[in-house]
């Protein structure tokens, strides 16, 4: 990995409204130089708006955008040094790949020979130098997005903005291109904001993941922390699958169907609550025929996911998901009685059913 050379990006108390709809409600976020932050959230949470405000494609109603120590809040998009890859295919149809890549350089008055040289070098970086003379209509979706990435990088921007660049691609291409984007980002060392609604994509690619809801950041942390120590019930629900199991908060933990689990939150008042338990924290300890208890139930479905399988168990009053190695899950086909156990990982509790 090369030394990181990006700049710090700060979004300070950004606000944006569309009529009565609040798209951003005082969003503050600092991205360290060379860091890749993924903004994750459901549709309408404000993640794309945040990215567009940073790009200068929309104006903020309040707050500041600071890039490399300079306040760029009032600068139009063409005077901010940011590169952007869009969700929709955005290559200029009348230009071949290298001309697309050279467009931003031409806007910066780079000479013709240097322009072409740099365009071809950047196409090489994304592995598409062989396709330099092709039009967008002669390339696949993945190739078009790679050229768009090269075009964004060719101008040597201070910040790279990626607005769901993989969402129009099929799953296999998406995974490959995601890894390639990360490789190039690390190689170039550019500060990057990646917007996506795909949690797997965000967790796989980012240094830190920001989970947004209703125009606010719910949590900004490393992918591992966001997944294993969600800060709010919304994050727990949105990132990964979660079992919502009724329990009771007492003795500094939560008792869930006879099992005492530690709490992520501090100072939670005692009383009834819903514990948010990850499927991988649920294990099958044995055959449920011989015993009865609060965690004994019947397998109603087994979903094969590859190396792991997701087993749905009916406990009578609720159903619980358990994620197990496929070889273990195979021992418990639908209809068999099983006994579950809950691994004592720290869990969140939610008071709202």
């Amino acid at each position: 990995m090369t030394e990181r050379s990006g700049v710090e990006v700060r979004l300070e108390n950004l606000q944006r409204r569309y009529g009565a709809v609040v798209a951003l409600d005082g969003l503050s976020l600092t991205i360290a130089p060379g860091e890749l932050v993924a903004l994750l959230g459901p549709s309408g949470c404000g993640k794309t708006t945040a990215l567009r405000l940073l790009a200068g494609l929309e104006d903020a109603d309040g707050g500041r955008v600071v890039v490399g120590g300079n306040d760029v809040t009032g600068l139009p998009a063409n005077r901010r040094n940011v590169g952007m890859v869009f969700q929709a295919y955005s290559l200029f149809p009348h230009m071949v790949a290298w001309e697309n890549v050279a467009f931003g350089l031409q806007m910066r008055k780079v000479g013709a020979a240097e322009r072409k040289k740099r365009a071809l070098e950047t196409l090489e970086l994304v592995g598409l130098d062989r396709y330099a003379n092709r039009y967008a209509s002669q390339m696949s979706g993945g190739q078009q997005q790679r050229v768009a990435l090269a075009r964004a990088l060719a101008i040597r921007p201070q910040v790279l903005l990626l607005d769901e660049p993989l969402s129009a691609l099929d799953a296999k291409v998406r995974g490959r291109l995601r890894d390639e984007i990360r490789r190039i980002q690390l190689e170039v060392g550019i500060t990057t904001l990646f917007v996506t609604h795909d949690q797997e994509e965000a967790l796989a690619i980012a240094d830190r993941v920001g989970v947004m809801q209703s125009g606010k950041l719910e949590q900004l942390d490393s992918p591992v922390a966001v997944y294993s120590r969600p800060a709010t019930p919304f994050v727990a629900d949105f990132v990964g699958l979660t079992n919502r199991i009724p329990g009771e908060v007492k003795f500094g933990g939560v008792e869930v169907r006879g099992t005492q689990l530690p709490l992520v939150q501090k100072d939670v008042p005692a009383g009834a609550a819903i514990a948010l338990v990850r499927p991988e924290a649920v294990t099958i300890t044995g055959d449920g025929d011989a015993s009865s208890g609060p965690l004994v139930g019947t397998v109603i479905a087994v979903a094969f996911l590859g190396a792991t399988s997701r087993v749905t168990v009916d406990l009578g009053d609720i159903t619980v998901l358990a994620q197990l190695p496929t070889s273990d899950a195979a021992e418990h086909p639908a209809g068999t009685k099983v006994k579950l156990a809950l691994r004592p990982d720290p869990v969140l509790v939610d008071r709202h059913e």
Binding site: G83, F92, V96, M107, Q143, L161, R176
Partner: protein, 282 residues
């Protein structure tokens, strides 16, 4: 089995070719017979005299006709340029920034279709009267009225072109790369709707060259008015000019189709590819 399928496909292709040929010949007869008849009329000799091109040769000897031809060509050029300068940026801006106004702009642009030309004349006459007294009574002022007339046709042609591209994403991509709005328009939008612009321009030219009612009632002598006046004095020359103006319109249409074709050929020559890309992978 494959041979049977190939045979069926060949039969279908032959039938399609035959259908095309029939339609082409029918359309050719429909267009060419009246023009041929006009040409025949314009070359008749007086009385028992043999055929002559005298009517065609004398076109240049009518100074009013020549002036009208030049004025109509100037009007076509001014109207077309004004229409493009007015419509293209407006339509792009409405798509980008004011999408809620799109229906209103469309309604305004299509409105002249519903207003008979003679009604337009009634509305425009006082304006042209005032303009003639205070500014200029040049025939070129007709371009204002013609601009209104060509709006519906040009709007439709340009709208089809703009609908075929993602104006918002392309403009934002260009903006993020450092392009000014003028550059976005000139370097990104216009090249991608060039076909639509050519179509709109052709419709505008054809409409202006064929316009009679407005010019005649506003007391200007454009090509069509002059042809009509000449028809009363010398029918042969009048018909010769009418045929020439039709042939000119056809020539413009063919020229436009060649421009489109040469663009395609150039694109294929650059890339060495003619069909959908095979083997393109991510």
């Amino acid at each position: 089995m494959a041979a049977v399928t190939r045979g069926i496909q060949q039969t279908r292709r032959i039938k399609l070719e035959a259908f095309r040929a029939v339609v082409f010949v029918a359309a050719g007869i429909f267009f060419l017979v009246p023009i041929g008849a006009m040409f025949e009329f314009s070359t008749r000799g007086a009385g028992d005299q043999p055929r002559t091109l005298a009517a065609w040769q004398s076109i240049g000897t009518y100074p009013d006709l020549v002036a009208a031809i030049i004025a109509s060509l100037e009007l076509a050029a001014i109207t077309t340029v004004a229409m493009l300068v007015l419509l293209v940026p407006t339509m792009v801006w409405v798509r980008l920034k004011l999408p809620r106004l799109r229906r209103i702009v469309e309604f305004i642009c299509l409105l002249p279709l519903t207003i008979p030309a003679i009604v337009l004349v009634v509305g425009l006459f006082p304006l042209y009267n005032w303009m003639g007294n205070n500014f200029s009574d040049s025939i070129l002022t007709l371009a204002f009225a013609y601009l209104v007339l060509v709006l519906p046709y040009s709007y439709r042609a340009l709208d089809v072109g703009l609908a075929a591209i993602d104006v918002k994403t392309l403009s934002e991509a260009a903006r993020s790369l450092g392009a000014s709005w003028l550059t976005v328009m000139w370097r990104v939008i216009v090249p991608n709707i060039s076909g639509a612009i050519l179509n709109a321009a052709f419709l505008s030219v054809a409409l202006v060259l064929g316009e009679y009612t407005l010019a005649n009632n506003l007391l200007y002598n454009n090509l069509q008015v002059e042809i009509a006046m000449l028809g009363r004095a010398n029918a042969g020359v009048s018909i010769a000019v009418a045929v020439a103006s039709l042939l000119f319109a056809f020539a413009v249409l063919i020229a436009i189709s060649f421009v489109g074709r040469s663009r395609r050929v150039r694109k294929e020559a650059i890339t060495g590819l003619t069909g959908p890309l095979q083997g393109a992978s991510s």
